[in-house]
Symmetry: C2
Subunit: 307 residues, 2 copies
């Protein structure tokens, strides 16, 4: 089985949407990525950090999905990263109510020895220096390195972000972030500029409006599945990235054509994530549901104009 190495935050989230609010629940990029990737045939490991306030129940939830957590450091007396957000009525925008870095503040990632030869590395949203450090520790060159980041690092650590971006194959960011990073409003132009920064493949996530994959002059588009109700968008982007990286890891095929399939798998998994609060839906999701909804993506997008 191929190996997927995942780095990203592990967090407590407190979320409020028009449909309700949660206490502190499992959150962070790495769990969403790991849960999503677990629907593929692969070995995965998470590199991250939590405090000793992090419940065994959440650790079990990850190991139950065969996610290796030997690289998940538990800091004695430390507090786990905490994020709290309030979504507006349209669920397309949110206010961050609290960000307490806690143990994430001076995190030094340690890649488990048996994942230093991972086939695919998924660098989830974290400080670019942490992302770089993970790449430094790899003993064999991964077949594919995927990086997700956000505007926060463009504001606070742009030089470090640009350094790590040079070293990756695929970047996944949202439309506003692509505009910020490139200085171009047109996403086509933005993607070309970002390709010039290093990554040969640029994935631009547009939330309910789907995702675009750019490579040289080629472009592919995956819609988001139109849903009756989006309950909580938290983690949808990470779930998308996890599905993308997970499928690539399983299939061992890093061609543009196969990335099209990977983007559809990512969109498919993300469409479940938003149906309940936090990771709830991803935890009770069954493989047969995943396969069945893939058929909906086919019906949604496939047409038969003969050319």
């Amino acid at each position: 089985m191929n190996k997927l190495l995942i780095v990203g935050s592990v967090a407590f989230d407190a979320i409020e949407t028009p449909f309700g609010k949660t206490d502190k629940i499992l959150g962070g990029a790495a769990p969403y990525i790991g849960l999503s990737a677990s629907f593929f045939n692969l070995q995965s490991a998470i590199v991250s950090v939590v405090g000793d306030d992090f419940p065994q129940e959440y650790l079990d939830l990850l190991t139950d999905r065969n996610i290796d957590i030997s690289g998940l450091e538990v800091v004695k007396g430390g507090k786990t990263f905490f994020w709290s957000g309030l979504y507006h009525n349209d669920l397309n925008s949110r206010d961050t109510l609290a960000t307490e870095l806690n143990v994430l503040g001076d995190f030094q990632p340690k890649v488990p020895q048996n994942f230093k030869n991972a086939d695919v590395v998924m660098l989830g949203n974290l400080h670019p220096l942490v992302q770089s450090s993970v790449l430094d520790q790899m003993e064999t060159k991964p077949k594919l390195v995927v990086l997700d980041t956000m505007n926060f690092w463009m504001d606070c650590a742009l030089a470090e972000l640009l350094e790590v971006i040079k070293r990756i194959d695929v970047i996944t960011i949202n439309d506003e972030e692509a505009r910020q990073l490139s200085g171009e409003y047109s996403l086509v132009k933005a993607a070309a500029i970002i390709q010039g920064m290093g990554p040969k493949y640029v994935v631009i996530k547009k939330g309910e409006h789907g995702a675009l994959l750019f490579h040289n002059k080629e472009v592919f588009f995956a819609p988001a599945l139109p849903l009756e109700e989006v309950f909580d968008p938290t983690g949808a982007g990470d779930t998308f990235a996890g599905g993308f990286a997970g499928f690539i890891t399983q299939s061992e095929n890093v061609s543009f054509e196969n990335m099209k399939n990977a983007i559809i798998h990512g969109s498919n998994l993300a469409s479940f994530c938003v149906e309940k609060f936090g990771t709830e839906r991803m935890v009770d999701l069954e493989k047969k549901e995943v396969l069945s909804r893939l058929q909906q993506f086919k019906s949604l997008t496939q047409f038969d104009i003969e050319l």
Copy 2:
């Protein structure tokens, strides 16, 4: 050849975008629809009205595309409908600077005798009573009636709009209008409610984010082609509708499966419309360019996950 009857405004538009501004140029729903539909093998006619200030050059431009203008009334001493708009920097929103109804104010449509048996009727954006009057004049039941409308009529003539909506097969509106008409934020729920008002098929246009086609529990999505630059979005929705109605007219197939193809054709033609000011690009567009870009739509959306 099958017949497509088009009703809609014929106008002078004055447009300002971040890329420049125009004097009064050819505008209105009917010319955009007619030019777009002219890329298919069909007979078309426009029912509309202009003043005698309307230049022969614009009439020629329509007849050069084999569009029958015997139903285009020219009011002696009348002034043609005038619209002026200013697009904001993102081109997704605009301010209307002027709307002078002029001869459109008390327009009584007259369907040419040889189009009273049209196969497809495209009711472009106009007062719902004008749209109803066109349907009243049909001598045979069209295979398909498509209606485009806008929020203005929902605000000012909702009862009349709901009356004509009962009589049509396909409605094309944008996302905000679908929300206004249905009272539902979710487009899936909005489409279901609108289907309950009459039309079995609901097309929701999302501009640069593509278009959705709903029918019972089924849904199809056509992306907009990602473009380096959108120059002027004016008429894109009408061009989309014209491509949709034109392809259906040519193919004589009103199945949901064929409507998927029609939506792709509409999106394809609309992607050209926005490349220049007003109708300029649609006038110099060649059929081989249209076919070539259809291939891009295939590459953009088709994937090969085996299920």
